[in-house]
């Protein structure tokens, strides 16, 4: 059931993300910046809130009057700020909800990722508490409606002796002190929300908390345009002797409020409890998957810390050397944080398939899918390649080529392949070209796999792809699991391009008889023996 929902959502996201990717490009695609945009809108809400507080007066009559004054008389700055405050708050809800759905769709919530998923739950609660207390402060008809329904909901819980809702049904019971309390709540709850947002990203390496400047600027201008086109306004003063019969409900913050009168307060609490319980338990629902975490081989670790730099999950740290070798530090894996993506294997300078040792070992490796196995798979798969342009595909298990059979080696993440593996495949003449096929560019399953791969190939990040490797014989294809056709078309185009290239000059230092093409039939067997 959960898998069916997840797959349907994944298809939905893939359909939406593709046109977004085309228009915005992967770097600016808002769907790949949801968390960062959430932070961005939080800061807009915070700054505009501080500005509005200058004009706000905490009194039963004065609260509404002061909000009206800033909206009508000072519309060109304070009024715009009010709209910024309202719409950025709504957009934050949109970002949080879409972010949650997307992480669920891409299966980013199980295993060691439980922490970020689980800490997202209090963010939802606090976000709603912040918004609802904000609506209360305006003290218009909507505020009256929110006050009555909120307090009726709270009264349903067996904590309060006297019904709180009684304070909002007749004049004389409400004092100005109440608004002081609400202002305090409306400041304290968002501050706590910010704290939990920080907790939420604690275990993420290089979290995106700021959207790209262009996207941020476009969002600000769009927010300004919308604020001028449709300014946020009040809905008439609250009159406790009258029922706020018809109100313009904010459907982002208050969708459950009408439900409270259609169902009952208990049913709304039951719905919220069920939702929270489900979200809270989801990371531990079957099927549970847990590959063995990466392991350090100290005999091959020189303490260079490249694996620490590249790990997207902060699962590796450097500690003092324990084996008596002259290096000051060594890498240490925290198994509870490791998702076994293998990016560290691709980052390790010891991960070179050219090594001639009988048992290929590297400084950090995955016990269930080692570099040695990858090299063996590459050699085996390459031995079956035929035709004028032999394309070896190194594929991410979450991308478009994950289900590909012919000429393909699938791994947890394409960044697990060290650049020297491409050099190896081409210089040993195992293939005429190597295609790296990963996830969609804006939806890398392991967040940084695509980025690190591209930086390694372009020489911006260790370990570099050697300059001698002909770049025209390498293709990087980023396509989601649903974009199989797109990936196949690009692989075919790459293969066709290879036929037009002049013969490779890159050759293995090993005897040509072992690695050359004519002896292909015996080549793989010999190479396997060699390895």
């Amino acid at each position: 059931m959960i898998s069916a929902i997840r797959n349907a959502l994944r298809v939905g996201f893939a359909l939406i993300e593709e046109p977004f990717d085309r228009l915005f490009g992967p770097a600016l695609n808002p769907l790949a910046q949801l968390g960062a945009l959430g932070f961005f809108f939080f800061w807009i809400v915070a700054v505009s809130g501080i500005y509005l507080f200058i004009f706000f007066d905490t009194g039963i009559e004065r609260a509404y009057q002061s909000v009206e004054y800033l909206t009508r008389e000072q519309w060109f700055h304070a009024g715009v700020m009010r709209s910024f405050h309202r719409y950025a708050s709504d957009l934050m809800v949109v970002m949080v909800v879409v972010h949650l759905l997307r992480e669920f769709a891409y299966d980013h919530y199980r295993g060691v990722r439980w922490y970020s998923w689980f800490t997202g739950l209090p963010i939802i609660w606090l976000l709603y508490a912040s918004g609802i207390t904000g609506y209360w402060l305006v003290w218009d008809k909507l505020a009256q409606y929110v006050a009555i329904v909120s307090s009726e909901l709270l009264d349903w819980l067996p904590f309060f002796g006297e019904p709180i809702a009684r304070n909002f049904i007749s004049t004389g019971t409400l004092t100005s002190r109440f608004f002081s309390l609400m202002v305090f709540m409306h400041v304290a709850v968002p501050l706590f929300l910010l704290f939990i947002m920080w907790v939420h990203i604690l275990r993420i390496s290089r979290p995106k908390v700021n959207p790209p400047r262009t996207l941020a600027l476009l969002s600000l201008i769009a927010l300004l345009a919308v604020s001028i086109w449709k300014p946020a306004i009040s809905q008439g003063p609250a009159v406790l002797a009258k029922v706020p019969a018809q109100v313009g409900v904010d459907w982002f913050y208050l969708p459950l409020y009408p439900l409270a009168s259609i169902w009952s307060n208990g049913a709304v609490w039951a719905l919220l409890a069920a939702f929270s319980l489900m979200i809270g338990l989801m990371p531990w629902l079957p099927p549970l998957r847990r590959a063995k975490p990466a392991e350090i081989d100290l005999a091959h670790c020189n303490g260079c810390a490249r694996c620490v730099e590249d790990c997207p999950y902060e699962a590796i740290r450097m500690v003092g050397r324990t084996d008596g070798t002259p290096f000051p530090t060594q890498a240490q894996v925290n198994p509870s944080l490791c998702v076994s993506c293998g990016i560290c294997v691709g980052a390790c300078p010891s991960s070179t398939p050219f090594r001639r040792t009988q048992d290929l070992r590297t400084g950090i490796d995955l016990p269930e899918f080692s570099l040695k196995e990858i090299r063996e798979r590459v050699v085996e798969v390459a031995s079956r390649l035929t035709g004028p342009s032999r394309v070896l595909v190194l594929a991410c298990e979450h991308g478009a080529a994950a289900g590909r059979l012919e000429g393909t080696v699938v791994m947890p993440c394409v960044a697990m392949a060290p650049p020297s593996l491409i050099d190896f495949a081409l210089s040993r003449d195992l293939a005429d070209g190597v295609a790296i096929v990963g996830c969609a560019e804006s939806a890398c399953y392991n967040r940084l796999g695509i980025k690190w791969t591209e930086q390694r190939f372009s020489g911006e990040r260790d370990p570099y792809l050697r300059a001698r490797v002909p770049r025209e014989r390498i293709a990087t294809i980023w396509a989601s699991a649903l974009a199989v056709k797109k990936a196949e078309t690009e692989i075919a185009a790459f293969a066709a391009r290879l036929t037009t290239l002049s013969p490779k000059r890159l050759r293995s230092p090993l005897p040509a008889s072992v690695w050359s093409r004519p002896a292909k039939a015996c080549e793989a067997a010999e190479l396997r023996e060699e390895l």
């Binding site: 719409y87 957009l91 019904p163 007749s170 919308v226 449709k230 018809q246 459907w251």
Partner: protein
């Protein structure tokens, strides 16, 4: 696509999404009661009499108590439930026995009931029993009320004066 056109396209998409969010921030409007109706609330907080009378403790009983907790009388804390009835145009619309609140059952009873009624004139009668009597009522009020559309009429009880009020 030229850079400027592409940038405008991005802006148009973002602005459209934001405009949709702005629209849903107060549309469509929600009507919580039908047009031409009003709401009557029966709500009050009132503590009924204690269940039992205070009893004078014997010297032996006082002696058994810890020195810092010795007292002359033993007064049970538990309150009686309150019995309430509300009639609209002679028809009973609410009747309930309201238990006392609190873990020890010594808190006041409370009621918070909402009735949506068409706007018109009504004969209201509200009655309450808060003593040991098993029949009849200790407090009662009858009145004719003109309910206007969207009006919120509160039927409350003031413990200090011991009377129901309609406001």
């Amino acid at each position: 696509m030229s850079r400027a056109l592409r940038l405008f396209g991005r802006f148009a998409v973002i602005a459209t999404l934001f405009a949709a969010v702005a629209w849903f921030s107060d549309h469509p409007a929600y009507r919580q009661i039908p047009e031409g109706s009003a709401v009557m609330m029966l709500t009050f907080v009132h503590g009924a009499d204690r269940r039992g009378e205070c009893r004078r403790l014997s010297p032996e009983e006082i002696q058994k108590l810890p020195p810092n907790m010795r007292r002359v009388q033993d007064c049970p804390r538990v309150r009686r439930p309150i019995y309430v009835e509300l009639d609209v145009n002679g028809r009973n619309v609410y009747r309930a026995s309201l238990p006392p609140t609190g873990i020890a059952g010594d808190g006041p009873s409370r009621v918070y009931q909402r009735f949506v009624l068409p706007a018109r004139t009504y004969d209201l009668a509200v009655r309450m029993r808060d003593t040991a009597r098993s029949e009849g009522f200790d407090h009662e009020r009858r009145d004719t009320i003109d309910l206007a559309a969207d009006q919120l009429l509160v039927v409350d009880y003031r413990s200090e004066s011991g009377e129901f009020i309609f406001r």
